[in-house]
Symmetry: C2
Subunit: 330 residues, 2 copies
DNA sequence: CTGAAAGCGCTAACAT
DNA sequence: ATGTTAGCGCTTTCAG
């Protein structure tokens, strides 16, 4: 077992409350006693027991983060940024991978609550959150994905300017002479996807593209599935420009197009969404709408910290996106 | 605040110890009281306070996992497998991203220990672990990376058959007519890298390759750096076969080679290591030595659970690898 | 400026 | 079969 506050107190010849005061910098302590305590602490290699502290304080120093797929670079990068910011504020991150499963998400929310986390940041896997979520008073910040139920939560929601991303993609294609367009979206993240789609299709139509030259499809966020689906899709609706709802989908689609002998960007131009670093390394590099994951993580963390500190302001925070031209566009 | 065991006891008209017994299935309880307690628990929406439980039991239900880079698909996939297995055993995973920094690694180890985790699984970022790690009695399992100091720990070490992977890569190149060879390794993971290198170079030499036709270089695990370094390297030592210590490095090297106008696999053949899924999607697909991350995660989890349960057996566990032929080899 | 003591929610002897 | 009670390690009134 590790040492306790009693051992430190004994060694320093003071009471445990004095030790507590010194170590937490709360209340008074003369310089002399302060020094004695510090020395004793170091000699013993004493460290506070966070569990006991949490029990007494009725709160841990943890903040939970739920992401749907940690192996997806976008979420990994977001998680990394959140962790960094939170550590800066003195919190520990409790990272949970929900694997796109509402059931696992629910399990983790319960577990997080049982462990007295101070707040939860959620990139939701589904749309039917546990009712208990609505009852709890723990601060919640929603990021990137917002189901129809979730918006009833008294929380802050953070997302990128998805619609603008769609507009940017459409303009980029138009400028580069594309004629027949496809939007290939992610089935799960309906809100973001419909915004991206909206910006994309409306810009196309307002620039004179006819409805017969535009088509859309929603699939699960998976490179494997995208690679497969895009082939059949091309058979049914040959196109020369495809806007993918995520870079992951873009990666699969690109490979699928290559499989059926299409040249990128000569035959088909392609734009992804997210801006994962990986997109720089494929041949050709993936043109994309970049989200600022670093900023998103920072803002998410700061929002949850604010809520924990009692800030009452709520609402949606919109983050900028930008078009990155790489090899998949002419 | 959430409910306490006292409220349940009151509602069910029993004592708190009875509630505890029923909920933890420990000790006796008649069917009738059991039912009463269950009902009261549900009506109140009561959930055990894990913090209090942990304090009382002198242990949390957490197991810590340290990985150097969660955005690297190999570690993400490993983490995912560990999490799944651990949850199966009833543990919660406390996932920490050390960003290849020994300092952050140390910080997390302290934090994990302060939070009374039951065990720690480490894919180490560096080579000089905190001395406190050696003093603690918390079970430790080391995975994939083992520094010279770390082997003094009384722990289980789990790695792939790295040397065999090198042999496999050499044979694959030889069979496909390669003449001048390069090994491009990861600077951090010295043990695994030197094993891969050893298997590779020794197989080459024993098959008649001369020392002047083999060269090696160690760089940080980063696609960005690999992309850059491989160009200079090729200038100095033109080669027609490159074995990369990780798929991440392979990805960067491949792009770098493409940048200077080389054709893969025509001019240069390439083999990576790890077997990340991403390698299927590049054009051409990355031939690689596949590690079984799923198995590695499972074995790591089971090892830590065993240690927690008091199993005394220690040692190194070797996991199988296999060669996956894709487009970067002829 | 410092110490004594209560109690956070829970489990596990021990008593009944 | 069930209840009483001590105490896990810590913080925080409240006295002194």
């Amino acid at each position: 077992m590790s040492r306790t506050i009693y051992e430190v107190a004994k060694k320093a010849n003071v009471s445990i409350s004095t030790v507590s005061r010194v170590l937490n910098n709360s209340g008074y302590a003369s310089e002399a006693t302060r020094a004695k305590v510090i020395v004793a602490t170091e000699e013993l290699g004493y460290r506070q027991n966070r569990i006991a502290k949490s029990l007494r304080n009725q709160q841990s120093n943890f903040i939970g983060l739920l992401v749907p797929d940690i192996a997806n670079e976008f979420f990994a990068s977001l998680a990394s940024s959140i962790e960094l910011t939170l550590r800066h504020y003195g919190y520990n991150l409790f990272l949970c991978n929900t694997r796109e499963s509402q059931e696992i998400e629910n399990h983790y929310i319960e577990s997080l609550l049982d462990n007295q986390v101070q707040g939860i940041i959620i990139v939701s896997a589904g749309r039917k959150p546990k009712p208990s979520l609505f009852k709890c008073t723990t601060p919640i910040v929603l990021v990137d994905r917002l189901g129809p139920e979730l918006n009833k939560l008294n929380s802050i929601f953070i997302e990128s300017e998805n619609e603008k991303g769609g507009v940017l993609a459409a303009k980029a294609f138009l400028k580069r002479g594309a004629k027949r367009f496809v939007f290939l979206g992610d089935q799960r993240n309906m809100r973001a996807m419909s915004h991206r789609k909206k910006g994309f299709s409306e810009t196309l139509f307002s620039h004179g593209v006819s409805e017969t030259d535009y088509c859309e499809m929603m699939i699960p966020v998976s490179a494997v599935i995208a690679r497969h689906e895009v082939k059949d899709f091309y058979e049914a609706f040959p196109f020369d420009a495809i806007f993918c709802g995520t870079d992951n989908i873009a990666l699969g689609a690109m490979r699928g197009l290559y499989d059926i002998g299409l040249e990128i960007p000569t035959d088909v131009q392609l734009i992804g969404f997210d801006g994962i670093q990986l997109g720089e390394f494929t041949v050709p590099g993936i043109s994309t709408i970049r989200q600022d994951t670093h900023l998103m993580g920072k803002v998410s963390s700061e929002s949850i910290v604010k809520m924990i500190r009692g800030d009452e302001s709520r609402g949606t925070i919109l983050l900028p996106v930008e078009f990155i031209a790489r090899g998949t566009t002419k």
